[in-house]
């Protein structure tokens, strides 16, 4: 289970630049399906990498699905050497995405994002039209149903 308030508070308190994408973004827009992790696109700027590491440091971030004895440490160097990380943490599963298919990175996506407020925390969430666009670009069969739902929401919003 994800502690959304805890995870978002940890990120915002450390001034991490991020955008909520994926299933949680779909939830923010009104989708009814269950998602089991928090997907965020994070800025790859060096100071943001340090902030992201600091935000998660006390919550035992670890590679999801990896053997428990792997020598993994989430630090700036690890983030610099990789791009997308699927992690577990004490606050729930979180995917750190440097880029997403069809959308690019934080700097490309920020203009297609909206500010949302939840649990007293203000953060960015990918806008509905862009969310549909990137889910289409991902081209995964599992996304067809959520795409159908998101498009219905888009029409409902008109």
């Amino acid at each position: 289970m994800i502690d959304f308030p805890g995870l978002l508070r940890a990120l915002v308190d450390r001034r991490v630049q991020f955008i909520i994408v994926g299933g949680a973004a779909a939830t923010a827009h009104g989708a009814a399906r269950l998602t089991q992790d928090l997907d965020i696109v994070y800025s790859r700027r060096p100071e943001n990498l340090a902030n992201l590491v600091a935000a998660l440091a006390h919550h035992e971030p670890y590679l999801r699905g990896a053997p428990p004895d792997l020598p993994f440490t989430l630090d700036v160097e690890t983030l610099q050497n990789g791009l997308n990380f699927t992690l577990t943490s004490k606050l729930g599963d979180i995917d750190l995405l440097g880029e997403i298919v069809g959308g690019g990175g934080y700097e490309q996506l920020v203009s297609d994002s909206i500010e949302i407020e939840l649990f007293g925390i203000r953060c960015l969430c990918l806008g509905l039209e862009k969310l549909i666009q990137v889910k289409r670009a991902a081209g995964r069969p599992k996304d067809f149903e959520v795409l159908a739902e998101l498009e219905s929401i888009l029409d409902s919003d008109e």
């Binding site: 009104g30 009814a32 289409r136 067809f144």
Partner: protein
Amino acid sequence: MSNVKKCSSQFHDPVVSAYRAHIDRTLIQKNLKLSVEERFLQLMELQRLAVELRDAGRRASER
């Protein structure tokens, strides 16, 4: 921030359109009446329920 309003016709895809025929719009309408925070609280409730169900299933299969 983007505030250009669009509609789904720009994304037309026959596969997704086929899925749309089976979407429960009553759930969407219900969700759209909630605040963003209420939608997340509902999601967390759903996650709690999923964990309970998974555990119950596991316990049942171990009996």
